[in-house]
Amino acid sequence: MADVATQPGQGAETSTRPGFVQRLFLHNITAKVAALPMIATVLVIFVGCTAWTIYYSFTNSRLLPRNDFVGFDQYVRLFGTNRWNISITNLLMYGSMSLVLTLTLGFLLAVLMDQKIRFESAFRTIMLYPFALSFIVTGLVWQWIMNPTLGLQGTMRNLGWTGFTFDWISNPRMVLFALLIAGLWQGVGFCMVLMLAGLRGVDEEIWKAARVDGIPTWRTYISVVLPMMRGVLVTSVVIIGSGIVRLYDLVVALTNGGPGISSEVPAKYVYDYMFGGGNIGQGLAASTMMLVTVMIIMVPWAYLEFGGKGRR
């Protein structure tokens, strides 16, 4: 907080001195009072609910929460369940592909937009439009397009191209790519807009300097502009990443986990067992594992980003 930052290194000494408590509570009291609702929200809603979730994942609660502890039983069952393991693999596959492709395509589109083209705002609107649709609508639209008998495949075959095959949505090995297409269609436009804002934030003088030095445009983008966009990149990664982890509605609308269970994702497992199966313990164990997954990614990143104050 402000008082700590302005007097670095004094924390250890002051804590032994009398008056520390008063200082802790009374110094800059208006700011502290103003922050109270936020602190309370964080403690109760984020920390509190997370603790509740983890606590009850060690019980055998069914429809109602119960304090009947069973140790790691819920976790043993979770990792012995084929559907959960498939869900995790799917999320990793979908997540890595989606993250890389969204960033790459988003950046490429932003670069194209950046060439001072005509009707830029019209293109920008078109590209961003899918983002205004919910995942449910996106999923339904693509379900119709990719439906083998009604969609693209059926249309092409009716037009006379009888060998045309596009049945990814009913093919267990390809269904993840069907999800990916719909996910990219929805998400790339937003990533593009973020990147475009980043590109526009780069000073014109830098471009002039690069031109004077005779650096090719593509090289300037990759070696000079991209590193300068670090803030925008981090924002994009966080937004795309959180979208991936909570992937649920797209799957429900597009495939509902099928064919079989080949496109299941962890969030759907949590919902299905908590509400459909009436098994809170199992659902909470699964959501705790989702939290752990996020932590494994976020903690090292946060450490690198915010840790080691001395560097700054």
Binding site: R62, L63, T81, G258, G260, S262
Partner: protein, 413 residues
């Protein structure tokens, strides 16, 4: 409670107030399809005519997976409805144990319900520590093999009279480009092992697996036949041929695009709305034409305990509704529209169609406990996942299937 009063107040405003002492009773259910909505309207009509109270209809979409969580969270969250429909079985078990449902013992004491319920096992899930907490109002059964007359006309064979003949006809059907087995994607697969178990495996197997939860019975020779039948089904079903819902599978039967389907008796509602006539457009084989008993569940009505300070007229309306639901008059009107079997047979069922008459005949042999009935929703969900995976993935062997089925049954509580 706030929501309840608001809903009630709105209903009054809309309908115009009836008599000064009439109460509004909110009833939740998930009967949203055309036939189902018409059936529940029969209950509402009888209730309003006989008591002068108002039936506030809260239909919830999404049946067992969509509506059930809403109903449960409203009751747990202290915002109970006046009455609600749920499946007969274990879905409300914990609500009853937590004391959130009303004990109906005294309300129906003078009706002597033991004497007219066609099968006492229906009432078992409702009983807890000597109390009676719900009233089953119909019997639904999964155990039906539906066959398309049109499909068998095309290949010039008589319509099969049991499962074995049906399986034997598959090659001829496939040659004629007819889908041997129609299947809706998602949950419809879930009832099929139970049907095969009752038809092919027999009464003992059903009792050992569903009631006694014996893993050894699953690993035994009888269940193996069931798993092999599932394997046969898998060979003629593929994700490309699956249709979005069970109703679409019914349509495939009527047009002769597909030859057969295993699905519960509620499919018949859809077949009839689409203009199908039993015996002419489709045939029905209860218990696959092999068994003599049906596995059964159905729907029950529950009456949540209303919070203190509720208008006594509403509480009285709950009692009146409870008695009306199982009265001969309401039972007859409701079940003829719904296509389900009534819970009492001391009524005139001459209006029943050919399929329902067959079912009523089998009902006399007693009901077997279905999976819906005796397994917790958690276990059902696990079995559903297994079945979905097995049907879609040919790499899972019959042995794997049996072993995984057995371990789920062994862990069931």
């Amino acid at each position: 409670m706030k929501k309840f009063t608001v809903v009630a107040a709105m209903a009054t405003a809309l309908l115009g107030s009836t008599s000064a002492f009439a109460a509004e009773l909110e009833v939740t259910h998930w009967w949203t399809s055309a036939g189902e909505a018409a059936a529940i309207a029969e209950f509402a009509k009888v209730f309003e005519e006989e008591t002068g109270n108002t039936w506030v209809d809260s239909a919830l979409a999404g049946s067992g997976t969509g509506a059930n969580p809403v109903i449960i969270s409203r009751i747990i969250g202290g915002n109970p409805m006046g009455a609600t429909q749920m499946n007969t079985g274990r879905d409300a078990e914990e609500l009853i144990q937590a004391g959130l449902m009303r004990d109906l013992t005294d309300i129906v004491a003078d009706l002597d319900i033991d004497s007219f319920y066609v099968d006492q096992s229906l009432l078992e899930p409702c009983r807890y520590e000597g109390g009676l907490y719900c009233l089953p109002i119909n019997i639904h059964s999964w155990d039906w093999l539906w066959l398309s007359t049109a499909a068998y006309e095309k290949i010039g064979q008589p319509v099969p009279t049991n499962w074995n003949e049906y399986v034997a006809s598959w090659p001829a059907l496939q040659e004629a480009d007819i889908l041997p087995f129609a299947l809706g994607s998602g949950w419809p697969i879930n009832g099929i092992p139970g049907v095969l178990m009752a038809g092919i495996g027999g009464t003992d197997l059903v009792l050992q697996v569903n009631r006694d939860k014996s893993g050894d019975a699953v690993r035994g020779p009888e269940f193996r036949k069931v798993a092999e039948a599932m394997d046969q089904l898998r060979s003629v079903v593929s994700p490309e041929t699956m249709v979005p819902s069970f109703g679409d599978a019914g349509n495939q039967l009527l047009t002769g695009e597909a030859a057969g389907n295993i699905h519960g008796d509620w499919l018949q509602g859809d077949l009839q709305i689409a203009g199908g006539v039993p015996g002419e457009d489709y045939e029905c084989l209860p218990a696959l034409g092999l068994g003599t008993q049906l596995t059964g569940g159905g729907d029950s009505f529950y009456f949540p305990v209303l919070p203190e300070g509720t208008d006594p007229a509403v509480i009285e309306a709950q009692e009146q509704l409870a008695r009306i639901l199982i009265s001969p008059d309401a039972q007859l009107k409701f079940n003829l529209v719904k296509g389900s079997m009534p819970i009492r047979t001391d009524i005139d069922l001459s209006g029943a169609n050919a399929c329902m008459t067959k079912a009523l005949g089998l009902l006399e042999n007693g009901l077997l406990p279905s999976g819906d009935f005796s397994l917790s929703s958690d276990t059902q969900k696990q079995l559903e996942d297994l079945n979905l995976e097995f049907i879609a993935d040919d790499n899972i062997t019959v042995d794997d299937y049996v072993e995984r089925y057995a371990s789920i049954i062994e862990q069931a509580d």
